[in-house]
Amino acid sequence: MNKDKKILMRPKYIGKPIERFEDSKYLSGNAKYTSDINIDKMLQLVFVRSDESHAKIKYIEYKEALKLEGIIDVLTFKDFSELNQITSPSRMSNYFATYQDVVAKNKVRYVGEIIAVIVAKNRYVGEDALELIEVDYESLDPVIDPEEAASNNKILLHENIGSNVILERSFSHGTKDYIKSKNIKSVSGKFKLSRKSPIAIENRCYLSDYDIGSGNITLYSSTQIPGVIRDALSKILGIAGNKINVKALDVGGGFGGKGSLYPEEIIVTYLSKKLKKPIKWTSDRLEDFLTTSQAFEEIIEAKLFFDDDGKFISLEGDVIGNIGAYSIFPWTGALEPVQVIGFLPGPYDIKNFHGNVKCVVTSKSPTGPYRGVGRPAAVFVLERLVDMAAKSISMDPFTIRMKNLIDTKNLPYRIGSGIIWNDAGFKECLEKSKNSNFFKEIIDIKNKKKCNRTWIGYGISTYAELTGIGSKISVAPGMPINTGSETATIEIDGTGSVSGIFAIASHGQGLETTLAQIIADEIGIKPEDIKITHGDTSKAKHGTGTYASRSAVIGGGAAIKTARVLRKKILKVAAYLLETDPNNIEIIDGIISSLNTNKSINFSELANSVYSDMETLPVELRDSLYAKESYDPIFGATTTATHIALVEIDKQTLKVKVLKYLVSEDCGKVINPMIVDGQVHGGVAQGIGVALLEKINYDNQGQLTTANLVDYKIPTASEIPKIDVVHTEHFLPENLGQFKGMGEGGTIGAPAAIANAVADALSDYNININELPVNQEYLFQLLKNGEIR
């Protein structure tokens, strides 16, 4: 058979919309979450949590609780004195770490902080005990308003820091000479992005099983970062890493909320070792709202300078981030606010940039990573300013963007904050969106639907993000943990079946399928025949987990690198068996064939000759069919997209409805278009939540007033329109596989596009959409102040 012809026949799985292998278990209710595991003699924890946002603990009275049948013990900070405090170091100058006792010692700093631990036979009796425990507080003034907390040192949350500002950082690039220029114009605003909760369907859950015989601990954790947790627990508990196995089984969504270390995780593990019992804690929704890391809450003052032609001259920004009570591990509380200022210049050619960021601690729940980290806020602010600039000089929103987007030929390009953009189709994505049928349709709808019942408008947002970040760049600024590499192990067992083992941890992204597609193409087998294992630190010894749009890029790169090594081993053995040269062998869907004879073998025969049959192969060829490689892309891959939203605002109710939505994106090589589209859809849905509905609210005493899914509104299917996705594949040649991360993009672009659409719909009025979410109440306040109508 002709060699070229045969290669042509080899199926390619990358690029195919293969149905997700993991869906059958998810959709049939057969997924196995941490909470589904129950172990004999298992005890449950119930936490006594602070009712006050800022107070000294005077005493805790729990004698009555101990009397209840089924209560094993009630523990306070004294019982955890041997544990180190949680602290998140950083190499950033002017950064002050916070120190959190796993169980609060004498002061609480947010409602929900752990004061005592009830060890109970079950959760019911544990909650009975909770009612009998009295905590006497000496209330301190809450620290709520970040602007006030930043300037006022009278009320300190962390006395040892001497200020409520844990980090202040400035960026400056270029000059400020433009201020003197005659032709300079500017637009500015004070923008706010409300605090939000990640809201995974599965609440956090931890189960630690201590094996008395071996002294080994298995922590089942609903975490995104099993590797980071294993390393942290090893340090905090003083146990060797090989004695702790962190297993993230099926995890029901993360969105960043399961991407940090939590006190509950430490307590569960510590107590299982101390009590020599399996210990479990399952968060309920109330605890999830109170304690799972929250997102955003920034105040951003920004100003964009441009000339008469709409060419951007300079950008100035001042960010105050309200990070909550503690700086979260391992990312630090600076993660979000610093990235807001870092990503503020966006994908535009802006020669001058001057930015400042302050991270302020307040007596609210700690904030942490959330889908898009920093970029939803940065893009919201910049894209609003871009539209405001366009409006002020009567320029079309496409034209002003096209004029200022970085041209591909100028890449790599270092923006004013220092981020370097590499191969990405900024202008291509924008052009594709404008030339799409979708855009024609929305202009059509906009013109046709003009009526006296609604205002209608469309909005664009264009952004760039850094994904699949290698070791040269910290995912979190100044973080001393390397997150730039991942490992893949691929092995063939005695039956000839192939397993891929990864340290990344899928929590619904479809990585089990996409990684199988990658390995399938490299080796020449069917994706459905590959078993992907992830989220188990005993199986993958090094690797951090899944966050920051890294798993397909770095995990996928590791898969390619490893598969290539394994393929060489396969070919070497097969060449001997098929009596040919390795170069004369092709592997198609698990059949290994000689190209110049009609001989072929399957993987079972291959494995049999290597592992079992001691006659066919000479000893030196019986090397195990195993490979393990790690991959580090060194830098990051730039992903970009343009979003267009069409919205309608009811003139009576002031309710905003998203009618249509388009995402024109470049995530490099698309591994599975169905999964990519699904990730885009989910991201946009969360972005619609940010734009229109979701708002975590604390009152002026630091009490959370939106602690359930009635008061805290996440969008339902009814609020999500049909979302069209257009792909551009702009490759990064140095990256193995040419993949770029895309899981966060939907959430990054949507708030800005919708805000711009709302502003467009209300363009006849002198208003500024500078706060999200835009709900009825928000528009009503604008209306009341005479800004609409």
């Binding site: 909650e127 109710t653 509104k713 609020e719 209306l783």
Partner: protein, 289 residues
């Protein structure tokens, strides 16, 4: 969020349920859509939960000469799909489509919703709007109470601890009429920020009677008797000349996480005006059919 300890009785008959209800702190559970969150938050700590969902006689819908009698166990979905309800009081089916989501509508019951008495919910508004009377039974006696006397304040009704709601009498409307229901929400399926329903009975283009009720505007659903009086006797083509102040005079909304009092006062007159206009339009549409 686990309930405190309670005994559970799966009552097979009304008598058994009523007998069990004599125990102190006992509580009836039907669909559990309001009670279960309350007991999980331990805001309610009943000693005994008496599950009445097996009592078949409470889940009937019967058409009688002058009324529709709806058993207290009738679920929202049962009401939506009932041919009798859709025929005689289509506003019920229409309004209930706005109640939460299908899974909740499959479990939630009219009796549970009425007993919970959320002033933003659909059933309480419909019960008040449609001049419903409520058949209540206890171990000792039974009584019938008018909706306006039943709803006392937010989450509070006239129902005594030993009583069970047996059924609801919805009077049939004799005249030709038009109806309308409108609900303002932030998100589909939410409790109303403001809602209104109306029934306008019309004879030869003259409004001879009307019912107008709003939700989310005070401690209970509120019948706007002042507006009902203003429009009575008017020609449907005439301009009603109702001022915003007249629309608002009986309303007493408050601010909460979902909307401010001011927003409710802003949206209120518009929604009420809409349901009046739409009811008349509905009458005209039906007449032309």
């Amino acid at each position: 969020m686990k309930p405190s300890k309670f005994a559970y009785v799966n009552a097979k008959t009304l008598d058994e349920a009523l007998l069990s209800l004599k125990q102190p702190e006992a509580k009836i559970i039907a669909g559990g859509q309001s009670l279960v969150p309350l007991i999980n938050y331990r805001l309610s700590q009943p000693s005994t939960l008496i599950d009445i969902s097996s009592i078949i006689e409470l889940s009937q819908i019967s058409v009688q000469d002058h009324k529709l009698e709806i058993g207290s166990l009738v679920t929202h979905n049962q009401a939506i799909t009932s041919k009798d309800i859709t025929k005689f009081l289509p506003i019920i089916s229409f309004a209930l489509e706005h109640t939460a989501h299908k899974t909740i509508r499959n479990s939630g019951t009219i009796g549970g919703s009425a007993a919970h008495a959320d002033p933003s919910a659909e059933w309480p508004l419909l019960i008040m709007l449609l001049d419903c009377s409520i058949n209540i039974i206890s171990y000792k006696n039974s009584r019938t109470i008018l909706a306006k006397d039943f709803f006392i304040s937010e989450l509070t009704t006239d129902l005594k601890e030993d009583e069970i709601i047996k059924s609801f009498n919805f009077p049939k409307i004799k005249q030709n009429y038009g109806w309308s229901f409108e609900k303002i929400v932030q998100r589909s399926g939410d409790f109303a920020l403001f809602s209104a329903g109306s029934i306008i009975e019309i004879d030869h283009n003259i409004i001879i009677n009307s019912k107008l009720c709003v939700g989310g505007a005070g401690e209970t659903p509120i019948r706007l008797s002042n507006i009902e009086a203003i429009i009575k006797g008017k020609n449907i083509e005439s301009n009603f000349d109702i001022t915003n102040d007249q629309f608002l005079s009986l309303l007493n909304p408050t601010s909460d996480e979902h909307a401010s009092m001011e927003y409710r006062l802003y949206i209120g007159p518009q929604v009420i005006r809409n349901v009046l206009i739409n009811s008349i339009q509905n009458y005209k549409d039906n007449k032309n059919d």
